[in-house]
Assembly symmetry: C2
Homo-oligomer: 432 residues x 2
């Protein structure tokens, strides 16, 4: 139940933790806040050393999962928890591109990430591997749903005890998709920010490994793999522009960090990548700061169907803001109707069923294109981070109903005729 | 809308269709029944030719999807519809193995297959690629749910019109997970066998490509990849024993065919593989025939929560029966309670959330082990074919509830104490 301090072995390329604000250094323990300035701690690597040995070939020869990038991840073991997480498809999205008027659009599809169908499997695989190295036997998290699914599933696989915390108003699929693995589930009457505060208190008293609190420096590094994979899958090239959802802002900053690290060790040629972020209007503290030219975040009380990204007080918001500005990107928000339309647009053009966070990202993509903020010639990558089967409530009532018929040919013919007439009468191009 | 006959190009290794019963040969058109004896048609390959060129290395250098095995699949194009389908994880299942008393247990996890989280993405990728080659612009299917999801999604991606047929009592997630892609959905008041009969009539009148009717010879070949992948992922070795679910029996027969083909072209050393099948007691016509020593199937009226495998009149039932017998395998069935327990057991030990079909397979695995019909020393592979998020109704009420608390430390501490007391009082080992 308690954390033990372990010095990195020879196989690890990380050398400790470092405060992002004041630069104070720490051993690689289960801590996440600087003692001096209360800034967030980040993992420190010896990249100059790594640059001497790492090549595209050594990476390509690795496993078909995030662990092909193990040298860039904060674990010591050569046998991390590998359930096939990562290396999700990067699909050329020609039909969606045509609808939007883009030429080179790609979808990075973590709606089919393994094992629990969201990008969270990346961060949890790293966090639980590190949790085991640090001696934890109980793991936990504060979650908007996907993280709870992933922590419970991977903890079950690894044989770790698990207790997760969620807001009590989550979608049914996310609650059931956690309970099934047999963890203790605490449903908190409050929003994510309240859940998160409670968890910080529990982390101080119970000696548990909270993947996104005391293990956060390790956990968050898992998102860098979304940067690495896109580079590798584009044939060892950087994209021109990315669009990703913003919740705490961590994912966004780590994709950027992933790009910079591959440039730094010489795996890819340097190029400016514009980084744009997506928020739901009902929880858009980072987008507001961006549009108002502020460099601080005013916390908000979330009210949106995009619950998985409804973080009113985003821990890494200012860092995301900074990256969007310095890369000449944008941060935009869309309302709940646009989010549902975004989910449908992606499903109908590319056969990908994403959750509300993905609908948000697609709707923001569309908004940015229409505002001339994405050039049709740019090689643009959109990050889809979760699966629509978990947020079925969001689209119920907006996707029509089956035509119910008796098992007879004439019943079918009549229904088909009726549906074609309806189509002619009601047909509207989707979101165009 | 109409099929055109296309002679296989030089790049294809298939030479036509052949009746499985009387051996009559046909051109590779959209037909599936022998004109002479009404037997099922199967694709014919020139394996002796293929054996001269195919190597493990050429396969390993291919894409990370089923299309690395293109030479063994009935398509002509070098650019098939590839959305990352296949190459799902083969996981060593140590925790489940320990619970059951096995030593070498593996899970082939198609619950995370792409894009729609079931093995059907394999057969549909092949069928729609072939449908395009044959000139179809509208595709269709008779489905118990997963096939409808997959056909609608991949048709959307490929820009094909789509109309699917399902029984009207399917799980909500499977209906919504089809509607989202925008096809026409016909919900038929009847069971799968009635849906299937209706579709056979429609196929004769509308000139559509029904993936599992007039395109069935091509479609069904996609399941062979579940055999190929297991061989490759075991390090180019055959397992000793497999356990797979039986619906129409097609999947089972094609996994076996995949094994035999890789032996025939010299990619793997010959070895006897025992093939065992799993059915739900409420729809177990093949298991009944097996236990009663019959070599014919008596059709049944399905009544089980395992709707995705509820086929009362299985088209390939007799072939599955034959394979189980000649490989020294077994066919067993389990009731609905055992199916739910199977879903929970797999989730709690390995972090994999499967649907009712997977619960059936795990419960049958357990039953076979307990009956001494699987040797603990055998290298056993269990096929998990679909995702639990689509059949949430099946486990609702059997997995407990979250503990609802106020966002305060003392509320959490009280809830935790309560849950631990409950655990001590009520604790029962899962399915042991």
């Amino acid at each position: 139940m308690t954390a033990t301090i372990t010095a990195p072995s020879r196989q690890a390329n990380f050398t400790g933790l470092k405060c992002k604000e004041c630069g104070a250094e720490y051993e690689a323990q289960a801590i996440h806040v600087c003692e001096y300035c209360f800034g967030p701690l980040e993992v420190k690597y010896d990249l100059s050393q790594l640059a001497k040995t790492i090549t595209r070939q050594t990476i390509e020869a690795g496993p078909n999962s995030i662990w092909r990038y193990r040298s860039f991840l904060p674990v010591e073991t050569n046998t991390p928890i590998d359930v096939g997480t990562g290396m999700t498809p990067l699909l050329k999205a020609n039909r969606l591109a045509r609808q939007l008027g883009l030429k080179h659009l790609y979808i990075k599809n973590d709606a089919v990430n393994m094992p629990t169908l969201s990008f969270k499997d990346r961060v949890v695989s790293v966090a639980l591997t590190r949790a085991q190295e640090l001696g934890f036997t109980t793991v936990s998290c504060a979650s908007t749903g996907n993280l709870a699914n992933s922590t419970a599933a991977i903890a079950a696989r690894a044989g770790l005890d698990c207790c997760v915390f969620i807001p009590s108003d989550l979608e049914a699929g996310k609650v059931l998709g956690t309970l099934i693995y047999g963890p203790t589930v605490m449903a908190v009457n409050g929003n994510y920010d309240q859940v998160n505060r409670l968890c910080s208190e529990v982390a101080n008293t119970h000696g548990w490994g909270f993947v996104n609190i005391n293990l956060r420096p390790y956990y968050s590094e898992g998102s860098k793999t979304l940067g690495y994979e896109v580079i590798e899958q584009l044939g060892w090239e950087l994209p021109d522009h990315i669009v990703a959802p913003l919740a705490s802002g961590s994912l966004f900053t780590k994709i950027y960090k992933g790009f910079r690290e591959f440039i730094e060790v010489g795996l890819v040629a340097d190029k400016a990548v514009r980084c744009s972020g997506a928020q739901a209007l009902g929880c858009s503290p980072i987008a507001s700061a961006f549009s108002e030219g502020r460099d601080f975040i005013n916390p908000v009380k979330p009210s949106t169907i995009a619950k998985s990204i409804a973080i009113g007080n985003p821990a890494d918001g200012v860092y995301a803001l900074d990256i969007a500005r310095k890369t000449n990107g944008n941060i935009e928000s869309v309302n709940d109707d646009e989010i549902v339309a975004g989910i449908k647009l992606l499903a109908e053009t590319e056969g990908i069923f994403t959750e509300t966070a993905g609908g948000t990202t697609i709707a923001v993509l569309k908004k940015l294109v229409e505002a001339g903020k994405i050039d049709p010639e740019e090689k643009t990558v959109v990050y889809i981070t979760g699966n629509g089967l978990k947020t079925q409530e969001a689209v119920q009532g907006y996707i029509g109903e089956p035509l119910t018929i008796e098992p007879k040919l004439d019943a079918f013919e009549r229904a088909l005729e009726r549906s074609r007439t309806l189509e002619r009468l009601e047909w509207q191009p989707v979101l165009v």
